[in-house]
Symmetry: C2
Subunit: 259 residues, 2 copies
DNA sequence: AACAGCGTTCCGTCTGACGGAACGCGCGTG
DNA sequence: CACGCGCGTTCCGTCAGACGGAACGCTGTT
């Protein structure tokens, strides 16, 4: 992140920078707020803002202040609604499988559960009962915990979720089903950036998982890697987490936006 | 909507048109899908897409297809989150009050209720008990019905809402509290584009209301005009609805997006 | 091997973006 | 009431930089 090389199309680059500034002003930015924060002459700003206005990417209040336009919001919400996570993440999942040769899951949150929307199996056949379309309680799987940790980013909101879906299932002895313990686990996951499942949903199976965001506040889905615990001792687990986070970071748009 | 006049900045205009096309493709658009649907040479597309990519407004999958980028989503969600409806709509509310000299409310939905976030009173003092920050059951007020009709745009989803918040209050004899009747009322509101309250929350008081969208799928807020029923006979009601819809249409970004 | 279908790069032309300067309006001030 | 200030807006001569046709390179196909 140092000096930026010359933009491919200067006027487009400027327009985008304007949109970024406009986005930070929920009740409008004045022309020379824009001028100072972008160090551009007012005439240039004005011309570009006119172009943005024509397409509804900016609007102007009657007092002159400029706002982000409804068309930009419409496009974003619309695209977000039709985002096909499975198609988008297939190549990433495949790269993970060929790098690790383990079972890869892609899951989304649905109330108390995770729903698996995609699954890739390793070449070495392994008994894992999950299916695309299948469900598991969210709080005892790595995918589920990764999703919960960022969907309910405060302990308070997580506890509300837990209360709504109480009592939480406890399929194995290691399942974390006490709400307060779960809230602490989520805090840990948020600082680490990934979730683990240490035989919490199925005895003998460990998983790691991390969320994908695609620009949204909350995660759109989470990717997990599962294996029998003999194949996932602490050292390999660290390695696998590394691959997972690296592949997500390398997938266009998937990683968490910086803010 | 006929021929468009020359855009203020051609390259910016093109970039926006690209974003609109990209937004329609949830799993990516290829370079010459873009080329044909925009009738632009590939080299120009390529250059502009590079500019969009540099700022995260577009991304490219490893197979070459282009996607809307996470930064555009981030900006949109972020702006949407900090949208200050009160500031944005103040001028509109003031114009309505000076045109009609009646009580104007601005309300948002919160579970079973509407919460009033702004209120303007007419010069002729009138006994209306509502306060900024105050609440009313959504299903018996015009603001609430306008919000419900588009927040839960199908009968099925409305009935779910009704079931979650049953039993619905019935403050007056005219309150519509039967879920099926309410669902029919919502359908009527959606086709009309506005909601009425014929003494359904307070005896002797009529209101009309219409939603504001600001680019989102669902309404961000709704504006209502309330008056004693003697001041709102059928004829004046039509006139008032006309003013309301016209003012909303004239407020940058507020009206429902076409697409 | 030749081909077709893609994304990508090059580079000479000339359009159209650039920004300094001037304008017009509304507002508060001396 | 004249004045000046702080806005957004418009104008226009200059020349940077956007434009697009053509050629390239890669991959998978026949």
């Amino acid at each position: 992140m140092g000096e930026r090389t010359a933009p491919a199309v200067e006027s487009v680059d400027r327009a985008i920078r304007m949109l970024e500034v406009l986005g930070r002003h929920g009740s409008g930015a004045s022309l020379d707020e824009l001028a100072t924060s972008l160090s551009l002459p007012k005439s240039s700003l004005h011309r570009t803002l006119a172009a943005l206005r024509e397409r509804g990417f900016a609007t102007q209040r009657e007092d002159g202040r400029y706002l982000l336009g409804p068309e930009l919001l419409r496009i974003a919400f619309d695209f977000y609604g039709r985002l096909d996570v499975r198609v988008l993440l297939r190549p990433t999942l495949e790269r993970l499988r060929s790098a690790l040769n383990e079972t890869i899951h892609l899951g989304v949150l649905d109330g108390p559960d995770v729903v698996y929307v995609d699954k890739l199996e390793p070449t070495q056949p392994i008994a894992l009962s999950s299916k695309v379309g299948g469900r598991n309680p969210a709080h005892c799987t790595a995918v589920g915990k990764a999703l919960l940790a960022w969907t309910y980013p405060t302990s308070e909101r997580l506890l509300t979720w837990a209360a709504e879906h109480a009592p939480l299932a406890h399929p194995t002895a290691r399942t974390i089903d006490r709400p307060d313990a779960l809230a602490r686990e989520m805090a840990r996951i948020r600082t680490d950036g990934f979730a683990k499942d240490m035989e919490e949903s199925e005895s003998g199976v460990r998983c790691v998982a991390a969320p994908v965001f695609f620009g949204a506040d909350g995660p759109v889905a989470a990717i997990s890697i599962s294996a029998p615990k003999e194949r996932l001792p602490a050292a390999r687990m660290r390695e696998v987490v590394g691959s997972l986070l690296r592949e997500i970071a390398a997938t266009p748009g998937a990683a968490r936006a910086v803010g």
